[in-house]
């Protein structure tokens, strides 16, 4: 039933072979073909720009006021590439292997290998665009380490790598807009996919300034609309990040894969109170130099700096000596939760652990600087001063951000951190060509499910978004469009467009006519609470069953009691939010269903019933070595389709970071 279209042949030759035989569209025909790109983050902007350069007529959409604001911009730490510039044993195979292992053997070998192959081209492309990556004194590119790996392969621009990469893609996109190859629609939100004779042929969107519904035709539709972490209400996602585009595609026939695979990032600034609207990440790169600890004594109320060295428990270094503070995210998050649940948490809420830079500030950077400057036997104060300057260069903006939010100076006292929802590995099911189960409908970047399995390694999201947009879709889309060169643009008066627009209009009218008592925000918060408590860092059968019931009740209440002020035909931010939250509620139910069905632990999906004696995630490869691709069959009704994962190159084992 599910055909992942993995090319035959040896793993390392599949992509080259595919490219060599894929159908092409000649330049004159490209001009006749229209492509819709929804979302302008790294995947969307790079795809729209690259397809525009090739000569396709591209239309790009974003809900923000400019494509430059997509949430890829907030990615901090870096982007991986198998360049082996450090001569430390890196290779395409290593990056491939680390990613498969990091994902706990729940991703497709062929896709991940392609990603590793392409990774080096991405860096070259970005450098050519003028992305100001960090450099060594010799003028060459600098690297640092990220979690779950033992080589230095991460390229970065201070703590603003996502910003710099997105601006590179944005500039390429704006250039194509100026050349007339791409038409940009800002403050537009996609509300439906139009499917004609089984093929995606356009979208219905709402102009968020005027409130008008619009119909747009395309020979193909690319969804680059990001992840769905905001289903948890509190996450590190931007306030506007939403699942609506992907969800509408799902309801039109695109299968949704592994929805329960959510990444909880270990190092975020802890929640302070009910007013909290979002959570802020402190980059994983900080774990290069920060050591994570809690007091050895339960309920210790002393200030961090008053707790002597021997009374601190560096629990990651203790439990995982080989990887220490650089274990993968899922492992680090669970370890923090374990310590806090056992009563060792710090700060006012006791739901936090320390991330401490003092040791490396002095011993790593301070001493190196002192030696460089020829200072003999420097005292601690001098070392701290010298070390600070280096740390400021590496992570300055992150330290400033921490101080603005918490009012504490992380150069003086350790950061307090706690895990938070950050990324979603699940998403629309796609084949090797990034095509969903609807012909002509593609999903790129975080919106698809394909490369990260059950847990994504740090600095791999930027890599995947740009790989999909710059280097995969320009080839795979041609393979589909080559068969469409005879298809004339379909007028948007076609009844499929009429019907799709009517459905959207009816739903909006229905929402506005509820005129209930509770705000959209209050429903979103309640949904988030259910998801975090029952489908968050740890899940069990009973909790998930309860969550499904609670979400169904919440959905009924939402559709009977939500209050949306204002009118339809105007800018109405509450209506925008209501549309998104309505979809999050439906998705929440599917996530719990998926988590319930997958009665094993793997990566970020931790089922309490399935753990090793040491509390690590215990997979069940005999029963669950598959991608769960859910097919929408109607309200609260899904059918499970399985894509078996076949490992030819790598032998799955129990992940071990000890």
């Amino acid at each position: 039933m599910l055909n992942s279209k993995i090319p035959p042949g040896k793993l390392e030759e599949k992509w080259t072979d595919y490219k060599g035989h894929v159908k092409l569209v000649n330049p004159a025909n490209k001009r006749k073909l229209e492509v819709i790109v929804v979302g302008t983050g790294l995947a969307g902007a790079s795809a729209a720009a690259s397809l525009g350069e090739l000569g396709y007529r591209v239309k790009a959409y974003c809900f923000q006021d400019s494509p430059r604001r997509a949430h890829s911009i907030a990615a901090q730490g870096g982007i991986n590439a198998a360049k082996n510039y450090q001569n430390d044993g890196d290779s395409v195979f290593r990056l491939f292997y680390d990613t498969i292992k990091g994902g706990d053997y729940r991703s497709r070998e062929s896709n991940v290998h392609r990603l590793a192959e392409i990774s080096a081209n991405i860096i070259d492309q970005c450098v050519a665009q003028g992305v100001p990556f960090a450099r060594e004194y010799g003028g060459l590119l600098a690297n640092r380490s990220f979690g779950g790996v033992q080589v230095k392969r991460t390229f970065y621009a201070a703590g603003q790598t996502g910003q710099q990469l997105l601006l590179g893609a944005y500039q390429a996109l704006e250039r194509q807009i100026a050349l007339g190859n791409v038409t940009m629609y800002t403050r537009h939100e996609m509300h439906d996919v139009v499917v004609i004779d089984g093929k995606a042929r356009g979208i219905i969107c709402r102009n968020l300034v005027t409130g008008e519904l619009e119909r747009h035709f395309g020979h193909a539709v690319l969804l680059c609309s990001g992840g769905y972490g905001n289903v948890f209400y509190l996450s590190t996602n931007a306030m506007g990040s939403n699942v609506t585009a992907a969800w509408k595609a799902h309801k039109k026939g695109a299968f949704f894969a592994n929805p329960c695979f959510t990444q909880i990032h270990p190092t975020c600034i802890p929640v302070t109170g009910d007013h909290q609207s979002k959570l802020t990440l402190m980059s994983e790169s900080l774990r290069n130099d920060g050591r994570i600890w809690v007091p050895k004594k339960q309920g210790d109320t002393r200030k961090a700096n008053d707790i002597p060295e021997e009374e601190r428990d560096y629990y990651l270094e203790r439990r995982y000596p080989a990887f220490g503070n650089l274990v993968p995210r899922d492992v680090a998050s669970r370890a923090a939760k374990e310590r806090c649940d056992a009563g060792y948490g710090v700060g006012t809420t006791k739901q936090a652990v320390y991330l401490d830079f003092k040791y490396n500030l002095i011993n790593k950077y301070g001493k190196a600087e002192a030696s460089k400057q020829g200072i003999e036997n420097p005292d601690t104060e001098t070392l701290v001063k010298l070390g600070k300057e280096v740390v400021k260069e590496e992570y300055g903006n992150l330290f400033d951000m921490y101080e603005k939010i918490t009012g504490e100076n992380p150069y003086e006292v350790p950061m307090r951190i706690y895990p938070a929802v950050h990324y979603t590995m699940g998403g629309l099911w796609v084949d090797y060509e990034l095509k969903t189960t609807v012909d002509g409908l593609y999903a790129l970047g975080e919106a698809n499910f394909s490369d990260h399995g059950a847990n994504r390694l740090g600095a791999s999201a930027l890599m995947q978004g740009l790989a999909d947009g710059y280097f995969v879709i320009p080839y795979t889309l041609g393979n589909y469009l080559a068969g469409e060169i005879g298809t004339r643009p379909i007028p948007t008066t076609h009844e499929a467009f009429e019907n799709a627009e009517k459905d959207v209009k009816d739903r909006i009218d229905k929402l506005m006519n509820i005129k209930g008592k509770q705000s959209v925000e209050s429903f979103h918060k309640r949904l988030g609470k259910i998801m975090w408590e029952k489908c968050g860092m740890a899940r069990n059968e009973q909790g998930l069953k309860e969550a499904i019931e609670e979400i169904r009740t919440l959905r009924k209440e939402f559709w009977n009691n939500v209050r949306i002020p204002g009118d339809i035909k105007e800018m109405n931010n509450e209506l925008d939010k209501a549309n998104r939250v309505a979809d999050f509620i439906e998705l929440g139910e599917l996530m719990c269903l998926d988590a319930l069905e997958r009665a094993e632990s793997c990566g970020g999906h931790f089922r309490e019933e399935s753990q090793t004696e040491e509390g690590e995630a215990l997979r069940n490869d005999d029963k669950f070595m598959y991608v769960a691709a859910w097919e929408y069959k109607g309200e609260s009704n899904w059918q499970l389709n399985k894509e078996d994962l076949i490992y030819e190159e790598i032998k799955p084992t129990q992940r071990n970071y000890k």
């Binding site: 690259s50 923000q64 006021d65 400019s66 430059r68 604001r69 997509a70 949430h71 911009i73 360049k83 510039y85 081209n121 860096i123 070259d124 492309q125 450098v127 050519a128 665009q129 003028g130 100001p132 960090a134 450099r135 004194y137 003028g139 060459l140 590119l141 621009a157 603003q160 910003q163 710099q164 944005y170 500039q171 390429a172 704006e174 250039r175 807009i177 100026a178 931007a238 306030m239 506007g240 302070t272 109170g273 007013h275 609207s277 979002k278 802020t280 990440l281 951000m401 603005k404 939010i405 918490t406 009012g407 710059y470 705000s519 925000e521 002020p565 204002g566 105007e570 800018m571 509450e574």
Partner: protein, 255 residues
Amino acid sequence: MEHYSMNLTLKVWRQKNTSDKGRFETFHVKGISSEMSFLEMFDVLNEQLIEEGKEPIAFDHDCREGICGMCSMYINGRPHGPWHGTTTCQLHMRAFKDGDTIVVEPWRANAFPVIKDLIVDRHAFDHIIQAGGFVSVNTGNAVDGNALPIEREKADQSFAAAACIGCGACVAACKNSSAMLFLSAKVSHLALLPQGAPEKKTRVLNMIAQMDKEGFGSCTNTGACEAVCPKEISLESIARLNKEYLGAAFTSDKV
């Protein structure tokens, strides 16, 4: 850090749409925690308005971590409020005290028309980038990233300029509504790198021409832009822009 709670009076600009004249409205909020961000305080106010059956205040915001450049409030006469080098979303309520009155307006500039309440249209910035704020290199053309060594200091300076988030605070702060700091940040970012060299002249000329076309005012070097820039883009960028512009104007074939 000690936390406290406060009651505040807010005078906020309300404007239904671009053609509406607009006016200030006064609101009161209670029990605001010093731990909240400024926008979370607005969330509280908006929830209160919805409860009362009124329309919430429209404002732009997205990442809420100071990097997307979407938030844009003019707070007590200063873009992004009282803290130096800080966006509105990163401004926290401990900057205020119990009983304060806070005045909040949208960016004011001809090139940034108000769409609704505190939301303005900043497309003019995208148009300036379209005029030349890029390196013309198609996907797939690149040579190895390390084939082109770049002096570290230059790379760092370029990065500092590239940190601009395009929020428009510089325009809002300028008495002439000039976009020089924004434009100069992009010109500096690319002029400092060898990748930007081939289009050095056309870039600066075209971007400046576009800025004028969009209706931004002239720069008189008062430095108000630098003082409010949340990413602390330096006036040196404008000096570099002027140098690039003069160089291009005197030697370009176009002039």
